[in-house]
């Protein structure tokens, strides 16, 4: 159906560079999430694809056709806005039918298509309502239907669930994924919620300060984050400054073998890969606080008199309490140097290091 290609897109707003040299290819039927903190430029990328912002440099191609300078009304894209942006002076039916009426389709066909799309989003029979008579979730579904009814080549979703509560967000997220796969529409989804991206996306684009940090499948972004920023933004990650000396990195009371040259580096350990043991030494790391989540314990650890804070995930029955002295045994680590991953390793229980992958950049 449709393939989207971004070629070195940049957007400058007066003095700030909102989007900086972003390139990306989205395949037919793929759902790609743009993930990043607010101000990372992800919405601006989406608005440039929709035609609402003109790129300062670069090009947007849909099915190989350059649409960079095509106005939004002539683009084969459909956008769902964060604020749903329904027209309050029209009924639900009127909102969805508006685009079809502009295309001068016969009334019969308009009615059929609107009713079909209302069924698709689970709002059959709601056509006569006014938008303000619907709940937030229903309004967002109408907005989705309004875009889908025109059968766009590319569907753009700009944080569509940000204003909804957690439960509704999770339900709608699954529905959107369902609909997207049934219709098979190429979709770009902007979000600042990592769980949303992990749950929805075929691929995740992590953005920061207008630049792309990493593009990968969700499990790769989580397990093999390329930069410390991605590591810290997706899931929880202990990132501690350390020193490499004679083939070992020492950081916050942990020691792991690494083939890297001596010097400063960042050691990264996920809480679930930080194993705890009892210690007696007076200067051992201390459990500062223990939170029981039912399925597991989350242990806040202070190392060296508050100089470092770490988190570790422990089994629910492990029985750690605040004040316990601990030993820290990282099981899987990554070492970052100059902003990118330099070495990744699984540490075997005997604490003899076994490198899995080694990347020098």
């Amino acid at each position: 159906m449709a393939k989207l290609e971004l070629r070195q897109l940049s957007k400058q707003f007066s003095t700030t560079l909102a989007v900086d040299d972003v390139s990306l290819t989205v395949d037919d039927g793929e759902l790609v999430c743009l993930l990043g903190p607010s101000g990372s430029g992800k919405s601006t990328v989406l608005r440039m694809i929709g035609g609402f912002e003109l790129p300062t440099a670069g090009a947007v191609l849909i099915d190989g056709q350059d649409v960079t300078r095509v106005p939004p009304e002539k683009r084969p894209t459909g956008m769902v806005f964060q604020s749903h942006a329904l027209w309050s002076h029209m009924t639900v039916f009127g909102n969805i039918a508006f685009g079809l009426r502009l295309r001068r389709l016969p009334a019969d066909e308009i009615r059929q298509r609107v009713e079909a799309v209302l069924e698709l989003v689970g709002l059959g029979g709601y056509g006569k309502r006014q938008p303000n008579q619907l709940s937030g979730g229903q309004q967002q579904r109408v907005a989705l239907a309004r875009s889908l009814v025109l059968e766009p080549k590319i569907l753009l979703l700009d944080e569509p669930f940000a204003s909804l509560d957690q439960h509704l967000r999770e339900r709608l997220r699954e529905e959107v994924r369902d609909i997207q796969q049934r219709v098979g529409i190429t979709t770009l989804f902007v979000t600042h919620g990592q769980d949303e991206a992990l749950a929805l996306a075929d691929r995740i684009v992590v953005m920061r300060d207008g630049k792309v940090e990493q593009v990968d499948r969700p499990e790769v972004v989580y397990r093999e984050p390329r930069t410390p920023f991605v590591a810290g933004f997706i899931g929880q990650m202990n990132l501690v400054d350390g020193d490499i000396r004679n083939g070992r990195i020492e950081a916050a009371g942990m020691s792991v073998a690494t083939p890297l040259a001596d010097g400063r580096a960042i050691l990264a350990v996920r809480p679930e890969f930080l194993e705890l043991g009892s210690a007696t030494a007076a200067d051992a790391p201390v459990a500062h606080r223990v939170i029981d989540y039912g399925t597991h314990l989350m242990v806040d650890i202070t190392v060296k008199d508050n100089a470092e804070r770490l988190k570790a995930m422990a089994p629910a029955n492990s029985g750690w309490k605040a004040g316990d002295r601990l030993t820290l045994r990282p099981r899987e680590v990554a070492v970052y140097r100059e902003g990118v991953v330099a070495h990744r390793a699984v540490v075997t229980p005997e604490s003899s290091p076994a490198p899995v992958e080694s990347a020098h950049v």
Binding site: G50, P71, T77, F81, H89, F98, G99, Q133, R146
Partner: protein, 281 residues
Amino acid sequence: MTDTSLTATAAPRLSRRIDWPGIGFAAFLSLVILVPLLVVAIWAFTEVWRYPSILPQKFGLRFWGATLGRNDVWSALSTSVLLATTVTALSTAICLPAAFAFARLNFPGRNIFFLSFLTVHAFPKFGLYVTIATIFLGLGLVGTFWGVVLIQLVSTLMFMVWIPVAAFQGVDRRLEEAARDVGASPARVFFYITLPQALPAIIAAVLLTFVGTFYETEGAWLIGAPTVRTMPLVMITFINSEVVVQYGAVLSVVLWVPSFILMLFARRFLGPQALGRGLGA
């Protein structure tokens, strides 16, 4: 519509406790607003009403016949309606595009132009009118219908620019972008989305302009008198020259009718929030 259902559910709970301050406030307002109106309305249907009695000694429609039988009243009424319609139409044609430009475009001197609409109301208007009148005298506009139209336009400009500007600014840009997104050209976006969204406040501004022009006296008197006679001018001559109160009272009731009809009409378009939204609240 959600509002009505809300009040419907809230009403039974409220009725259990009597809201004395609210009743007192309503009573005070009724006294101040309704009593003068009531006195005028009673006078209009009175034939004899002498001092000590609280109600008139004799009711009757004699003065209605006398007032409405006069040719000058009918010609003044048609002049007033024609004037108010012309001024409102012209004002709308001039001000709405200007308001859209102020709200959405960024041109040099935008703020100064915008404020200039306020300055008309910042100084005593009569002084301005006298100055304009001397210019009109040279142009031969004094005593003509179009002279009155022009002078009345001046005082309508502020409402007709400021309220629609706020209304246009209040329309969420995302609504317009969503319309562009489904295939509407900028012109269609304006007519199908922006204008309907801003319409309640614009209707409020148009009604204010019509009613304001209908009752406008100073400009009409200065430029129009004695050839162009509007309803307020006829009323002034009645009050000045005739001792009989009823003529004025009957005319008051007659003059009240158009604004009452407009307000009824306005209720169809304006929720209580619409005017406030138009004024930027």
